[in-house]
Symmetry: C2
Subunit: 355 residues, 2 copies
């Protein structure tokens, strides 16, 4: 990093930042959601010495596993190693990552009355370990690699807080949403304001971009998304854009391509696209004035380098060299992925997109 504030930092001129701003690039930038994870032996090594939650709360280890992944894969961005759910702890929820079962919330919200247990995060210091992770990751990584901060989007966080874990039907979340709309609005507003502060603090700690993960949003139809979820995404994006205009926001909502025209209305500079829709159809839908990130099916990383290369070429041909494409999977790397295949993906993107 430079002490001279007149010098533009290297990351600001990186492929990733340029693509996020829809500027032309010499080749397509690439990174992978969950690029540091169980598929990588270096990660499993670190993880075997601690619980998942303790790992999230150990900034040095978080920075280490991400830097290792960035170096091994040769990707163009470092998303901080963390999770979307720990923010729920200081808000009043009893979170546990049970062995082999995924996250569990022991005191889920089910009624309007339960809302009294949910505290808006006015002061984000309980999340200091995440900001320290951002700082250490920023310090440890090459200057031309942007660091991405992230958070869960309000609907996805609310679903976890209400269901108490993952769900097939999102019955409890939707029942509160349909049945107690005032309580729903209050919960979503508390989450949205907390998340906005949390992401701004990640930017202040050194993140160049932030991504909002709406992992469970695909269970909503158009009208319900528009009424019950979109306004809160919009308010987060607006707050970040107003407070930190140089940090692009990536909004990634998976599971329902029919919502894409509304995802554009989020105001995010980059829209994440899952593999359920062709990248060209998705980009035509959201418009070429926003950048897109995606969208190879993560299961393809279990195939062969040849097949991966073929499918990378197909996605790149759909992007057609337009400014504003960030290559990624359509969802996170699966734990069964051979590392060599993830490397083959990154190499294929670099080689096939070079101009």
């Amino acid at each position: 990093m430079s002490d001279n504030s007149n010098v533009r930092p290297a990351w600001d001129d990186s492929l990733m930042m340029k693509a996020a701003r829809c500027e032309p690039v010499s080749r397509t930038p690439v990174w992978l959601m969950r690029q540091a994870g169980r598929y990588m032996s270096e990660y499993r090594e670190v993880r075997s010495q601690t619980t998942f939650l303790d790992l999230c709360k150990s900034p040095a280890l978080c920075a280490e596993v991400m830097c290792t992944a960035v170096e091994r894969l040769g990707v163009d961005a470092a998303i901080i190693f963390s999770d979307i759910l720990p923010i729920l702890q200081p808000m009043g929820l009893d979170l546990e990552y049970a062995q082999g079962e995924g996250p569990i919330i022991h005191n889920p919200i089910r009624t309007a009355e339960d809302l009294s247990r949910i505290t808006e995060l006015q002061d984000v210091s309980p999340m200091d370990y995440v900001f320290e992770t951002v700082r250490l990751t920023r310090e440890s990584i090459a200057d031309d690699i942007p660091v991405i901060g992230f958070a869960g989007a309000p609907f996805t966080l609310a679903s976890y807080a209400i269901e108490g874990g993952s769900s097939r039907s999102y019955m409890h979340a939707k029942s509160l949403m349909f049945g107690q709309p005032d309580a729903w609005r209050e919960l979503m507003e508390r989450l949205a304001r907390s998340v906005a502060r949390y992401l701004i603090a990640q930017i202040d700690a050194g993140a160049q971009l932030v991504q909002l993960f709406d992992s469970w949003i695909g269970c909503l139809g158009w009208d319900d998304y528009k009424q019950y979820a979109l306004p809160y995404v919009q308010s987060i994006v607006q707050e970040i854009n107003a407070a930190r205009p140089n940090a692009p926001v990536i909004y990634f909502g998976t599971g329902n391509p029919a919502l894409l025209p509304l995802f554009k209305q989020s105001g995010a500079q980059v829209v994440g696209i899952d593999w359920r829709i062709r990248l060209d159809d998705a980009w035509n839908t959201v418009g070429h004035d926003v950048a897109v990130q995606g969208n190879l099916d993560p299961v393809l990383l279990l195939s062969t380098p040849e097949m991966i290369r073929e499918r990378v070429a197909e996605v790149l041909s759909q992007a057609a060299g337009r400014p504003g494409h960030i290559f990624n999977l359509g969802h996170g790397v699966l734990k069964e992925t051979p590392v060599e295949n993830a490397i083959a993906l990154v190499e294929a993107v670099k080689e096939l997109s070079a101009k």
Copy 2:
């Protein structure tokens, strides 16, 4: 039933059959996927005396639970009580419905070699209990209520056969699909030919329509659906249309509205729409020359009769009185649904759509 073959049977002139043929109707027909199920005490009573698989193999009980549901709800169609997976048993798979865990296949297919264990159903007599269920349901129900036969679509059956149960990523199914395309094609062809014979036999046993459930298809993107799944749906629909031209086919694929233009290419007379997309957008996408079935979010049945009525009105206003709308949920009735709410839905559709 009439002995006089010149007399048109009452069901042929029913609301359901007319809507399936895109003919004008006096009001919108309505039925619910999984209308006989755990949410209904009469069903639980029958079910408590037997296992799920034994129930499926007891035609008299199957007919009884469906007739009870049709009478209690006042719906316009009776889908046979059965399941999509038992057809896999005579094809060589060891199927079990484990208590509280959903279906499990103990000898899933994972490689091209495993395919030798999968026998195409040349002779459908192992499924005689289903045809008997069709006959008894047809006999037991009013003449103006059509009986719907059904089967799983090839991709969904293949996914179960390969994964061995439900899955989040469909990693094994897609790995065979991507990695061993010849084995995949062979498996899908065997399934498609078996399903076509099975559905034609259901029609011959007395079903007026048949529905193909592609419950897991939403995990595929456009190109993969088009290459690896659609051709087999098309071949089933073609065989049925050629052999039994008076029996409309309903194709229901849930989980990815971006596939709707391809669902139209299935050739099915009716396309089932889940709740992830507005009914009007979906119908505009598939075109008004096919009928549509759907599409209320099943979780809405956990709300109140007032809210259900409001949402029914909204779906009907999107259908805009065009010929060819069959009212249904966007997926099956949830077991937590109060029966009164399901009844309220049916009544609202009848009342609000009357011309």
